[in-house]
């Protein structure tokens, strides 16, 4: 694990805002405080329009643990700014008491102890209860339900049903509109089929046919809510064709297309919209930059980077919402409109504490039904863990260490590469490791675990390339995701350096020798974006390893030295 102290120093220095908020740790007393459904729903209503917003569910139908990152560095202008705050800095900034329910939901330190107090979060039947309660309070005609994308991918059931389980669930929630990213990895044909037949709108102003530049999806939809016209403009992940296999949607191109968003805003206003919303899978930093350049957006509902923030970020007259991931939160925005303009906005990030919220029986039944054909597989116990297994963090996660260890031993590789995905559940010590847990961290449509030869130079180029994708100072050149995880090799990274000079000190861990530029190494990895990648699916590799070791224990990982934060 990376030294937390290094990052604390870096972020504390960068963020004057964290000083002197005066909140001391409340410890266990606060942790024991029981949260109720009424507490979670409590909201002083405003105006006539309510937007409910979920994003990045990653196909999680059931409550789970998901540990937020302890390392989430910002670069350039956003260094030390939210959402690039973790643990104590995050709590100080948002005035959250240590040990509280919000601290458990939003920060990473003390996760294991707090998990035992507060239990799992999310679950579609709990989300259905919250949505139902808000609709009952406000009236259906005032509420708009939006999904920021990455809802169809991330579980065994979504993979096996090609997202039909999530489409059924989101339809039952009476979703109004969504955008996409991982959705596209089911292939162009499947995505179009769902978009054309689902009861909700699939919006994406920035997906074009790459021959004639014709729009592939509806760009915008106008809704009448609470006597106001709400325009929702969809923005798919601009980097989908770079981040994921382009061969799965060969005729589509993406991009940010800022000027086209401006056109959509202007057209929406001309058509009578009082509220203009960008439903965006850009990622938070991209949206923050965009908010300063596109005029007339009232709200940007952000996604992709999985940030959860219990407050709004304001850029000019635009507010940005970060609603978290994995079904942990539902955001509520009440909007007041005067003279066809937004006059006030009130916001709450509602944490979905599974033990505090009464499940919606109809949704419980639907979730059971979609899971039933796979129930035996999902529950199959492969092993158990003695260690906390989590994914999020810029440089490594213990679940990724497990995947790397599996590839090292099962594929007999010297060095292994595992993608820096931000999705996948967390397991706490003594948890069983089931097929469901393994596939929650690996369920993709291009899972083959390859084995090949690479030179030291090539490995360095990969690291430099991925690092630039995360730490380029201009967010428009970033692609999201975390740093590629490496097994069998250590390295140093200076995130403040330009592309090509961030990575140094590459060391082969087993021999302790420096990685040689021209020497060839046996490398294994998964999630190749190239067509026809050969090798067994990664879930089989991980399951075989877990079955052999029986009880997983992950040693602290000190292989990556980080500077420049």
């Amino acid at each position: 694990m990376i030294s937390r102290r290094d990052f604390l120093q870096a972020t504390a220095a960068a963020s004057a805002l964290t000083i002197g908020s005066g909140l001391g740790p409340l410890g266990r007393a606060a942790a024991q405080q029981r949260l109720t459904q009424a507490d979670i729903l409590r909201f002083d209503p405003l105006g006539t329009v309510t937007i409910l917003y979920v994003a990045d569910a990653h196909a999680q139908l059931m409550p789970l643990h998901f540990r937020e990152p302890s390392v989430n560095l910002g670069v350039g202008e956003v260094k030390g700014m939210p959402p690039h705050l973790t643990d104590a800095e995050f709590r100080n900034y948002f005035k959250i008491a240590a040990g509280s329910a919000d601290a458990f939901a939003l920060t990473a330190d003390d996760f294991v102890a707090l998990a035992k107090n507060y239990g799992r979060m999310g679950g579609m039947d709990r989300i259905a209860t919250l949505i139902g309660a808000v609709r009952a309070e406000r009236g259906d005609d005032k509420v708009l339900l939006l999904d920021g994308g990455d809802s169809w991918q991330g579980s065994w059931t979504s993979l096996q049903t090609k997202a039909q389980d999530m489409v059924d669930v989101m339809s039952a929630l009476k979703l109004d509109a969504m955008v996409g990213h991982w959705e596209f990895t089911y292939g162009a044909e499947r995505v179009k089929q769902i978009a054309d037949s689902a009861p909700f709108a699939f919006l994406a102003q920035n997906v074009r046919d790459n021959e004639w530049q014709e729009p592939v999806f509806e760009a915008r939809k106008m809704f009448e809510r609470g006597g106001a016209t709400v325009a929702v403009i969809g923005q798919a992940l601009p980097r989908t064709a770079v981040a994921n296999p382009r061969w799965m949607f060969p005729n589509w191109e993406f991009g940010i297309r800022e000027e086209d968003i401006q056109k959509q805003v202007d057209e929406a206003r001309a058509a009578g919209a009082s509220i203009v919303v960008l439903l965006s899978h850009n990622g938070f930093d991209v949206d923050r930059k965009l908010a300063g350049r596109v005029k007339g957006l009232d709200v940007i509902l952000t996604a992709h980077t999985h940030d959860a923030m219990p407050g709004l970020v304001k850029v000019g007259n635009t507010v940005l919402v970060a609603t978290g991931s994995h079904g942990k939160f539902v955001s509520r925005l009440d909007i007041e409109v005067k003279d066809k303009k937004v006059s006030d906005i009130r916001f709450k990030l509602m944490p979905v504490f599974a033990d505090a919220i009464k499940p919606d029986p109809a949704m419980t039944a639907l979730v059971e039904k979609v899971r039933a054909p796979f129930a035996g597989d999902l529950a199959r116990e492969i092993g158990k863990t003695d260690s906390l297994l989590y994914r999020r963090g810029n440089f490594n996660g213990t679940f990724d260490d497990l995947i790397c260890n599996a590839m090292m031993s099962e594929r007999d590789a010297e060095i292994v590469l595992s993608p820096g995905f931000r999705w996948g559940g967390t397991l706490i010590p003594d948890d069983a490791i089931t097929w469901e847990h393994i596939t929650n961290a690996t369920a993709i449509t291009y899972p083959n675990c390859y084995r090949n030869q690479m030179t030291g130079t090539q490995i360095k180029e990969v690291l430099e390339d991925v690092a630039d994708n995360i730490f380029h100072p201009d967010p428009y050149f970033q692609g999201g995701g975390d740093m590629v995880r490496i097994g069998g090799m250590g390295y140093a990274i200076d995130i403040s350096k330009p592309m090509g000079s961030r990575i140094s000190g590459m060391t082969h861990l087993k021999s302790g020798k420096p990685i040689e530029a021209s020497k060839t190494y046996t490398v294994s990895g998964w999630a190749s974006i190239n067509e026809n990648t050969q090798g067994p699916p990664i879930w089989d590799v991980v399951a075989a390893h877990v079955a052999k070791v029986s009880t997983v224990r992950i040693e602290p990982n000190t292989a990556v030295k980080v500077t420049g934060a």
Binding site: L237, G420, F421, Y450, H472, F477, G479, A527, T533
Partner: protein, 154 residues
């Protein structure tokens, strides 16, 4: 695709080597153009004349989705009358073996000075566009296009 079989782009080479389960075959290192080579090309055309900014809208992606076919759109602000029009537009790529990508000639009859094409970029580099006006004035714009191996997205 014919281009693909000739030589692989850096993105392809890396992606193949790094991510795919194929044996790594590195394309021979090409001698790439650079800033100086582009400057030399421009000097051949216009000597030591000074360039102004503005007038040129150079529309290229921040990140190429496919390095083999990167769209480049140029749009030059001009009334395009007999008295005032755009004579020619040249596009250069600093990182390509031959820096000159395309040259366009315009006449007032064109109505507008706007053109689109697709170019092949082997690696991250600057694209330079220059426009020569009928009054002899020269304009220049520059934009960076990132070519990445991709993968690993969120």
């Amino acid at each position: 695709m014919v281009l693909k079989s000739v030589e692989k782009t850096r993105r392809e080479t890396l992606a193949m080597a790094a991510i795919a389960g194929l044996a790594a075959i590195l394309a021979p290192r090409l001698s790439l153009a650079d800033e100086q080579a582009v400057a030399a090309e421009i000097k051949k055309l216009y000597g030591d004349k000074k360039f102004e900014s503005g007038k040129i809208k150079l529309d290229v992606p921040e990140i190429a989705e496919n390095g083999l076919v990167v769209p480049v759109n140029v749009d030059i602000e001009s009334p395009m009358t007999d008295a005032d029009y755009v004579k020619s537009v040249h596009v250069f790529a600093e990182g390509n073996p031959l820096p000159a990508v395309v040259s366009y000639r315009f006449t007032p009859a064109c109505g507008k000075a706007s053109a689109s094409t697709r170019m092949r970029l082997a690696e991250t580099q600057n694209i330079v566009c220059i426009a020569e006006m009928s009054n002899g004035k020269l304009h220049m714009a520059k934009a960076n296009v990132k070519v990445t191996i991709g993968g690993c997205g969120g």
